[in-house]
Structure formats: structure tokens, C-alpha cells
Symmetry: C2
Subunit: 496 residues, 2 copies
């Protein structure tokens, strides 16, 4: 394509910050799995497996998770408030959904659900979120500390825009990481300061490692402004112990770092011996108040038992910042005018669901419990299956929707991957997909430690699908190992 | 508030690009009008007017505009697809809304409406938008050129992020301007290159003026990358003539500038002698193709006869860029994962509404016509009323939802404003609000030409409200002018 006159816009002449960041957590493997799906739709017997199973995306409803009835009833009524006054609607909606929708509609500008709202969200919905946080933590949350957002990603971007002044500003991020963080830091011109999670200790976060990385960054001239913690973890599936969280709070307080707490998997915990605790609760229970620590907590409607990912609803709770900073955050939020109303409503429902005595309470609890207990079963089944594979180690899946098993592949497999110009994790993932229809994400998408090989797999396919997929996985893995074994055992682990 | 250790986050230590931009198109006046509203709610007889009338915000539904029934029916059914199979639903929803919702639900991932979608939006909805554009323009639009977005503001931000590399990159913007543009340019580190619209020629865009500004910017070392055109205009309410649009196309083609066409008011035209023409249609009808001109057109669900502002739906159509650039745009879009689904559905309905033969067609057309003809009446009434005021000149309201009358105030009023530390437009607007409850926006929020005094007023209050507001406006203005007249006529126009 030729243009008449410089400056023409090409990938070489756009903003270099856009050009260099990499954000394809599920890129090529998704496209390849979509091609296979299309091939299968057109010619059902052309492939050596009965279906493509998407274990690559944290996208619950696309894998068959049904939305919570109460949430959708309220959303539907708020879309069409005329229904609230129609007798026929009573046959279709529960009385408490009707009451809730009426309350919401009465509190929104114009008493309809199509007007601009405040850039931080509708006050009554922020109040509902704050009430939910207060009930969860046992410490007061204030609606003026809540910004409703178009999902957690938008909120993270806003905070990076506020915090990062130049490439000399660093942000501590876990490795392996959810790549939104590195993408957003690069896009806003800052420097990512990675710290390693320790795989051998169940993907634990060790504070001496974080301290080491902080000091190294400071010696290199960086001003480190904040520490990202993802709890429960993505892609790693661990849940931090409360002692660990206390150490992080003490550390960030002492070092003057903002805690950016990604708490979007707070409703996804699968082990008896651990619970989700918000960083705010941990800080407050240590006696630290607004003046001691700056803390941002991110949450969204995407995961949990609700899985309303495409609805783009979320909040951030901002504590330990002055009103002047909050005004600046408000200003950044106002550039995109306001978060979408459906998302605002949904996050208020997530944080303020039906209560005992409400007509929808039992249905709500049953739906929630069904999803949760199924997650629990699926996590156990998959953990066991992967751990049983030759050369694969797999930490306990404690929370979130993912696990991140490590593969110890024969050196011939690694050499073959090299000769094909791809990394071993990509090589294995593509072989797996082509042979079985199981789509996982290569660990390099999450910046796994160099010299190691991982894949990220979700626990989202339903139990029947998991039951059919495991024998296929086992057969593939055995044949893969046999193909590349040669005379030696697996040898790829150069660091040990 | 004190912190334990540097760097503490204060308004002084945040990203300076955030600190310096100004984005309060309706800031202080909104807060003041909200305070008055609250005062009135608490004590109805405390103020010298019966109600606060918000003429400051382009927020149709908050001022009583009813949403389009068909749109809300489809949205509601997509929220709760179970309804599609219930007999009771047939009493509540039109058959064509049921059909449309079924078609949409069958085309979205997971056949529900809560999953992540592609970062550029659901393909079938992009196809619907492309079909609508093709029908509007008579030139083919392709779904792969469409990015669905969370409203036009998000899309504008994405494009600024792509185009701006440093403060040496300039973007041509009209003055007076909708301040999203200056805010977004500053936030992304670029330089705004303003060009003046000519008030004496009905806010016309004169190409020699744009050329002068371009050359000046180039002499100052800037690389000018794009030209923003808002048509119909905000805050100015003009509609560009087709000749004028042709000149702009020729100019941008010759100078190698991307046209960023803000076309969000395309359904708001109120004059017989002008029609909305998209820049793409104008370019194609001049014989210019993808290879000749880079063009981005922005549209949204916020305005028009639909007014679904808080729903945050929109699209950008991107033509004349290579696939490499589109991939980079996709990458930026993917950082916030996907536009919200309700907004995606709504923009598809705006561009692909009920057709002749559909059961909802007549209702849809009647609702649309009612809103449109009322806008037309209101525009005429307000234009006449403002033009009749002493010292006020007001261009024809040709389109959009606004007009931008100019005030020639007595010099004593200007001096009094100065002594109170505010600009004359702010002074007048606050006096007007306190005396009459009518809220307008001071022209300085839109970067009016220096030495001039304007206010921006919307045509959104309903006809009854406008009828009661005009006598109050006239009485206030007369008394204001009498108060400050002194011995001389109005004198503020220093440039003439």
C-alpha cells in the first residue's frame, strides 16, 4: 500500500510503546484452535478427536457455565423498566429481582438505564459494593473509595496511567505473571520489575526475593512505586497464606510501595485450609490505617461463580490516597466518561447478592454452590491427572481458574522444537492440540522462569468433558514421551 | 496525611501528563447545579425558581428522552435468553425483537451473553454495523474494518495512543472543541494543533485557516499526523457542507494526514438544505480509495434518537491503514479485553434497525420521528429565543444537540467578573443558574477564541420545559444587562 505523503501511518511509525508490548496470552493457540474448530464444523470426521476443548481461556460462560438467574433477571428488568409495572412480568421474574431492579432504577439518573452516570459510577451501586466489602472484611468500606470500572483491566490501566511518570518508574510484578501487567506498564512507559514466585513452595511469594528485586531495581536507578500481587494467582492457582500477606503488607508499608491487589478470583478458593483475605482486611487487622499504606483492590464480574466476563463490570477500592489523588483518578476516569451501566449493575449484585429471606436466596445459593463444588471437583481431577503424567509436576490448585504444571521433556523434544524455531512449551502445546483437540497456553506467554517449560490450563471444561479429555491427554503424553525419549530420561531441567 | 517512606503518591508525584490535562466540560457548573437541586429537594421553596433545568449535558435520557422500545426489548432478551423460549414472553416482546435477540444469541460465543468476545467485537454484530454503513453511504463497508468499542471516547483514546509518539507529534483539532480531544492528546503525550472555526460564517471550517495552522506547526518542528473533524459540530451545532468536506479530504490526502472523523451526531441534523455525509462517502465519491487516504470514523449509541449514553457502545471504522497497523490497534484494544456486550448489541441495532415489514417497524419509525421532530422544534425555539436577547448572537442550530451563542456583555460585567477572579462566561453562567435554575456550560470549557464570551446550551429539555425556561432566561438577561450596562453599550468584543 502506498501513500501520497509522509507521515503515512505504518506499524513502524506508530507509537513505539504500542509496538513493543506483547499481549497475546492466548494468541496463536487460540487462532489455531479456531481453525481446527472450523475444519471440524465443515468436515466432522477430518480430525483425530471428537471436539476441540478450550482449556486456554478463563472465560466461564463460553465453556457452558450458566449465568446466575437472579443477576440476569435484574439486568433484564433494568434494561426495560416498563416491565416492572406489567402483570405478565410477575410470571417471569422473581419478586426480589423486581424489587431490586426497582430500587436500582429509582436511583439512576433519569430513572432509566441509558444516561451517562458519574465517571466513578452510580452512587447507590457504589454504596452496595462498599456494603459488600464491609461485610466481607469486617472493616468499613466507604462508597467514596469505590470507582466502578469496565472490568478490572480498565482499572489496572487507570492506575498505571496515574503511577507511571517515565521509564524510570518501576512496578513490581510476579513471575509467572498475567500479561496484562507487563502490557499495561510498557504501554504507559514504565519499567516492569519482576519478582519470582517459588514453584517448589507451591508458587509461594517469598519476601526476601521481592526485597532482592526491589534493591536491584533501586540500584539501577529506578523509583519503584508499587507492587502487584495476584491473589488467588493467575496463571499459578495458588492462594497466599495470611502470614505471607502480612509480610507483604509490612514490606510495602516500610518501603513506601502502593499495593496493587488483583483480587478478581476472591470467590474461587478450593482448599479447606486457606481462605481468601483481602489485603485491606490484612492491613487493618495489623493495625494499619489509611495513613500507613496506599492500597488498591481490583475486582470484576468476570470470574467467580458469576463469570460475566463480556459484561465488563468491576470496581477498584482506593484507600490511603489523598483526596487530591482521587480527584486525578476521577479525571482519568472521566476521559472515557463513565463505566457501562450493565457492568455497574452486575458488580453491585456480585457484592450485594440475595440475602436469607429473599425469595431468590435459595436458588441463588444452590446455583452458586453447584458451580463452586464443580470447580472443586474439576480442580482435583485435573491436578491428579496432570501429576500422574511422566515428567510433569503440578502444584495444588488452591484457587483461581488455572494451574500451571511444569513439563520435564526429553532433550530430543527440545532440540526438535529448536529446529522448528519454536520454544518447547509452544511445540508441546501445538502437538497436544493437533493430536487431541485440547487447547492450553504455552507458559512463555506468562513469562515463566527461563529454562523451564510450563503450560497453563483452566479448570473450566465441564466434568463430562474433563472425563473424556483425560484419557486423550494421557495417551498423547505417553506417545509424545516415547517418540522423543531416545535412550535417556527427560533432561530439560538445566537449572537443577 | 503522612506516609512512611518516599515515594508517597500525591497529586504532585503522579504522572504529570495526568496532572496537566483539563477535562471538565461541565465541571463546576454541574456540581453547583447538583447542590441547588439538593437544596430544592430538601426545601422546595428556598430558591427563586421552580426547578433546575440541565442544559449543560448532552445526556438525552437523563432529560426525559425515552429509549427506543425495540432496542430495549432486544437488550432485555439477550440478557435473559431463557425468555426466548417462554410463552409469557410473547405478551411482553414484539416478534421481531424475539427474532433479532435469537439471532444475536446464536451468534455470540457460548450462545449466552456473558462471555468475553473478540477484542474488536462479535463478528455478526460488526457485520450488522458494516451493513448499516454500506446502506448509509452506498459504498461497501467491511466487518474487518470495524472495531466495536465502549463508546466513541474509548475509540478516540485508542487512536491517540496509536498515533502519538512524543510531544513532537501534533493533532489538528477545531476550536471551539469538544475537550475530549485536548485531554486525550495531552494524556498521550502529544501536542494539540488548534484551528479556528469561523463563527461569522456559521462556524464554518475554512481550509486556508487549517493550512495556516498546519504550516505554523510544521515550522515549529511538529510532525502533524491527523486532523480531527467533528461533524455535526460540538459545541457549535453546525453541519459541514459537502464542498467543505471535499476540501478537507483533498487537503488531508495531499498533506498525508489521517482524518479522525467524529460522526457521533450523524442522526442529528435539523436543516432542510444539509444532510449528513460521512467522510468516507465523500472520499469515495471523489474517487479516493484505501490507498489514497487514512480515515477513521467514530460513532456511538450516546446521541441521535437513541441517546443510550450510559450504555457505552460505539464503533470505529478504520480504512486506509495496512493490516499491520490494524493488528496493533487490535493489540491496544485487547488490553481492556473486549467492549461490553450490551454496548456491542446496541450499536448493532442503531446501524441495523427494524426494516419495513418487521412488526416493530412502525413503532420504531414513530418513536424516532417523534424524537427527531421534537429536536427540530426545540432547536428553532431556542435559537430564536437566544437571538432575541440583547447583545447575543446565535448561529443556526443545524445539527448535534448544542448551540454556542456569543455574548457581548457590558464592560462593567467583565470587570466585575475579573474582580471576582472568574472569566466573564463563568460569571454569566453562574448568575444565570442562581437566578433561574438554568444550567449551561461556560464557553471557556471548549477553548473559545480568546477575547470572546460564549455559553454552550443543549436542546435537550423537553418542549414544555423550554417553554417555561425562556421567559425566565429573558427576564434574567434583561436584568443582568441593566445591572451592568452603566452608561455605555456592550463593549467586550475587543477583536472587532
Amino acid at each position: 500500500m502506498s501513500y501520497n505523503k509522509a507521515p503515512s501511518i505504518t506499524a513502524e511509525t506508530i507509537n513505539p510503546k504500542v509496538r513493543i508490548f506483547n499481549y497475546e496470552p492466548c494468541g496463536e493457540i487460540v487462532r489455531h484452535s479456531e481453525r481446527l474448530q472450523q475444519e471440524m464444523d465443515e468436515n466432522p470426521d477430518s480430525l483425530p478427536f471428537p471436539e476441540v476443548i478450550q482449556c486456554n481461556l478463563g472465560n466461564p460462560q463460553v465453556l457452558g457455565q450458566r449465568p446466575i438467574t437472579f443477576f440476569r433477571e435484574v439486568l433484564c428488568l433494568c434494561d426495560n423498566p416498563d416491565l416492572l409495572n406489567k402483570d405478565e412480568a410477575r410470571a417471569l421474574f422473581s419478586p426480589c429481582a423486581i424489587r431490586r431492579a426497582r430500587r436500582i432504577i429509582n436511583s439512576v439518573p433519569g430513572k432509566d438505564s441509558g444516561g451517562y452516570t458519574s465517571s466513578r459510577g452510580i452512587k447507590s451501586l457504589r454504596q452496595a459494593v462498599a456494603n459488600g466489602i464491609s461485610a466481607r472484611d469486617g472493616y468499613l468500606s466507604k462508597p467514596d473509595d469505590i470507582f466502578l470500572t469496565d472490568g478490572a483491566s480498565a482499572a489496572v490501566n487507570t492506575m498505571m496511567q496515574i503511577l507511571i511518570r517515565s521509564h524510570e518508574d518501576g512496578i513490581l510484578c510476579p513471575l509467572p505473571e498475567y500479561p496484562l501487567y507487563s502490557a499495561s506498564i510498557i504501554l504507559h512507559g514504565g519499567t516492569m520489575v519482576p519478582y519470582n514466585l517459588t514453584e517448589d513452595r507451591g508458587w509461594g511469594l517469598e519476601i526476601f526475593e521481592v526485597k532482592r528485586c526491589l534493591e536491584e531495581a533501586r540500584s539501577a536507578g529506578l523509583t519503584v512505586r508499587a507492587m502487584v500481587v495476584i491473589n488467588p494467582g493467575n496463571p499459578t492457582g495458588q492462594v497466599l497464606s495470611i502470614t505471607n500477606q502480612e509480610e507483604i503488607v509490612e514490606f510495602c508499608r516500610k518501603e513506601g510501595l502502593v499495593i496493587l491487589a488483583d483480587e478478581v478470583y476472591q470467590d474461587n478458593v478450593y482448599v479447606e485450609n486457606k481462605k481468601f483475605h483481602s489485603f485491606k482486611k490484612v492491613a487493618r487487622s495489623l493495625g494499619y490505617d489509611e495513613k500507613d499504606l496506599s492500597l488498591v483492590s481490583f475486582h470484576s464480574v468476570s470470574m467467580g461463580f458469576y463469570g460475566e466476563s463480556g459484561r465488563r463490570g468491576g470496581y477498584m477500592e482506593i484507600t490511603g490516597f489523598g483526596d487530591d489523588v482521587k480527584r486525578q483518578i476521577y479525571k482519568v476516569a472521566s476521559v472515557t466518561i463513565c463505566p457501562n451501566i450493565a457492568g455497574q449493575i452486575l458488580i453491585s449484585l456480585v457484592m450485594d447478592p440475595p440475602k436469607l429471606g429473599d425469595e431468590s436466596f435459595e436458588t441463588f445459593e444452590a446455583e452458586k454452590e453447584k458451580i463452586h463444588s464443580s470447580f472443586l471437583k474439576r480442580a482435583k481431577t485435573l491436578e491428579k491427572a496432570f501429576s500422574s503424567l511422566e515428567g510433569v509436576s503440578c502444584n495444588k490448585i488452591e484457587g483461581a481458574l488455572y494451574f500451571f504444571p511444569r513439563l520435564h521433556l526429553p532433550s530430543l523434544a527440545i532440540k526438535t522444537a529448536e529446529s522448528e524455531g519454536v520454544s518447547p512449551d509452544v511445540f508441546y502445546s501445538h502437538r497436544l492440540l493437533d493430536a487431541t483437540g485440547i487447547a492450553v497456553v504455552p507458559g512463555s506467554a506468562f513469562h515463566q522462569a527461563s529454562g523451564t517449560i510450563h503450560i497453563r490450563c483452566t479448570i473450566l471444561p465441564d466434568e463430562d468433558k474433563i472425563a473424556t479429555m483425560i484419557p486423550r491427554l494421557k495417551a498423547f503424553h505417553e506417545s509424545f514421551m516415547n517418540e522423543f525419549r531416545g535412550s535417556e530420561p527427560y533432561m530439560n531441567d538445566l537449572r537443577r
